[in-house]
């Protein structure tokens, strides 16, 4: 091996070691979820004798909450994209002084703490009867989905040449038809990225679930975990099993859409 090849191998090994340290908590979550109840935390480093009792308990106690989370997150994706996509197109292609005002508004919106939104929505929902409802939580979660989706989609649509749509317009297509027939199909990848992130934001939401529900009826899994943690924790294996189940969307996102994630993080933050 040449000198530089040795160096590169050393770097690879070092990189793997760094990852082992950084991801140890994730591994520990999985390991603890596979322990029998009772002595979960005293477990060894490997689940040599895996027990699925934690998962059985998690599914029977939190299964419904997982479904609730799934419904809310899916609803958030649909509503966020439906609202954000036309706006992103407008902000990328229309010439108007309102464009920069709109962008500034989106950037400022990122500074508004969730607790501010929760404070106000609680009052509005109280009057509108949206407390303890799935539509109420979907709407609240759009507060993270919509601005992010607009930023991601716009940064992609900026690269669309205006001639693309103009050609269709010359053929007599209206603005709306040109948008649906040409812009949407071309933007597929960025729509997927924006949709995946909206899903994850909504799936991870804890604050709105905590503040905008007051009884058991509608309860996302994040709130289920919080309840587990609230009392003296008795069954760590069930808690960790629920945590693992709640982490699945993040892992799926990482595996399935790996190349979009970094793009999303960078696009949403910097552009």
């Amino acid at each position: 091996m040449t000198d530089s090849a040795v160096r590169r191998t050393v770097f690879s090994v070092l990189g793997v070691l760094i990852l082992i340290v950084m991801l140890f908590p994730v591994y520990w979550m999985v390991n603890a979820s596979l322990q029998p109840s009772g002595n979960t935390l005293t477990a060894g480093l490997l689940p040599l004798d895996p027990s699925f009792s934690g998962y059985r308990r998690a599914l029977s106690e939190q299964g419904g909450h997982l479904v609730t989370s799934l419904i809310i997150a899916t609803g958030t994706v649909v509503l966020s994209l439906a609202i954000a996509t036309p706006c992103a197109y407008a902000l990328s292609q229309f010439r108007s002084r309102w464009v920069s005002i709109g962008l500034l508004a989106i950037l400022i919106s990122q500074m508004i703490p969730g607790i501010v939104i929760a404070n106000a929505l609680y009052q509005a929902y109280e009057k509108l009867g949206l407390l303890n409802s799935i539509p109420g939580l979907i709407l609240a979660n759009c507060s993270s989905g919509i601005p992010f989706a607009i930023l991601i989609l716009r940064s992609f649509m900026l690269s669309l040449p205006p001639s693309l749509v103009e050609a269709a317009r010359v053929d007599g297509a209206g603005l709306l038809r040109a948008f649906v027939a040409i812009v949407l199909p071309i933007s597929k990848n960025s729509l997927i990225t924006a949709g995946l992130f909206s899903f994850l934001f909504s799936w991870s939401d804890f604050l709105f679930a905590l503040t905008l529900t007051t009884k058991d009826g509608v309860r996302p899994v994040t709130l289920g975990i919080y309840q587990y943690l609230g009392t003296q924790v008795q069954n760590w294996n069930a808690v960790m099993a629920t945590a693992v189940l709640s982490a699945i969307p993040a892992v799926v996102l990482l595996v399935a859409a790996q190349k979009y994630i970094a793009a999303g993080a960078v696009g949403g933050a910097v552009k």
């Binding site: 590169r8 607790i115 404070n119 106000a120 109280e126 804890f206 503040t211």
Partner: protein
């Protein structure tokens, strides 16, 4: 883009259809933006205004029954400042934000520089590193609570097994350590975000600069000080500003790890705002605290904007 700006108004001056068609077109354009505008006003505009109003009102549990919320001037703000936990919450918010940002950024920058050295697996490892950032915060909180558990948690067991500790450290149960533990967990969560943004900033620095630097003897630390850092400064300041804005309002992690305890050692402005509104149902005072949070965020953003403008002017 410049091309589009030039041709578009010209096209508009030669409308294909008559006046009605053009107005129809303007209407369609409006419809593209309208839903988002309404949503942004409902989800951000309304909350900000409502919080401002509520902070000036005696808005409490009684309001829900009587519908009355009499205006009380700045009483909520003076109650906020006089509250026994206010100064502690302020200090904790400062320590939490400063501590989190400093370590996230330093470690993030170190890792970004490390991953810039092209070696086998570097791209794969870098994407795996994103996992802590993608996990729901409450999942991370639950996991860390099990790791930091005093008697049986793996951290204390490991440290004692290695002989580094004689007695287990009550990471989350001792008022003197809890804030440090909470900051450490938040650093762990924030590192991937910092690495990703800083890495993309590093990738945009042209290789030629380093090649030219090498000829002038700028390698290693000197290359970092004279080439990397000056070129990374714009990205770094964005990362830091976003870090402050995101960290100052963190609530999930603290509620999940300690709930503000033990003995209020991890209370911040955000947790206090939550408690005042949704535990004590004093929405007026909760709104005053959350307005303070917004004001602090804006203050940082303005400093940041002024700083970058000055940097551009230079």
């Amino acid at each position: 883009m410049a091309d589009g700006t030039l041709t578009r108004p010209a096209v508009r001056r030669w409308p294909r259809a008559g006046g009605r068609g053009r107005r129809g077109e303007e209407l369609t354009k409006l419809l593209f933006v309208l839903p988002a505008a309404v949503a942004m006003i409902a989800l951000f505009g309304y909350p900000v205004v409502k919080n401002l109003l509520m902070s000036l009102q005696d808005y409490g549990l009684r309001t829900f029954f009587t519908g009355e919320a009499p205006f009380v001037g700045l009483a909520n703000y003076s109650a906020m400042v006089k509250h026994q936990l206010f100064s502690q919450a302020m200090v904790n918010t400062g320590l939490f934000t400063l501590g989190s940002i400093a370590f996230q950024f330093a470690i993030g920058l170190g890792l970004a520089l490390f991953f810039r050295r092209r070696f086998p697996l570097s791209g794969f490892l870098r994407s795996l590193l994103l996992l802590p950032w993608l996990l729901p915060l409450i999942v991370s909180s639950a996991t860390w609570r099990s790791i930091l558990e005093q008697d049986n948690g793996i951290l204390n067991r490991t440290l004692m097994g290695l002989g580094l500790l004689d007695d287990p450290v009550p990471w989350l149960n001792s008022p003197s350590v809890a804030l440090i533990a909470v900051i450490a967990v938040n650093v762990w969560i924030g590192i991937p975000f910092n690495v990703t943004l800083l890495y993309s900033g590093l990738s945009e620095i042209p290789d030629e600069l380093y090649e030219a630097g090498q000829l002038d003897g700028a390698t290693g630390w000197r290359a970092f000080a004279h080439i990397t850092w000056p070129n990374l400064r714009a990205v770094a300041s964005v990362v830091l500003m976003l870090g402050v804005v995101y960290t100052i309002k963190v609530l999930d992690i603290i509620l999940g790890l300690t709930g503000g305890g033990p003995a209020n050692a991890t209370q911040t402005l955000a947790t206090q705002s939550y408690e005042r509104s949704f535990v004590d149902f004093k929405f007026g005072e909760g709104a005053a605290l959350s307005n303070l949070l917004i004001a602090l965020s804006f203050l940082f953003a303005i400093f940041y904007l002024r700083g970058t403008r000055r940097a551009v002017d230079e």
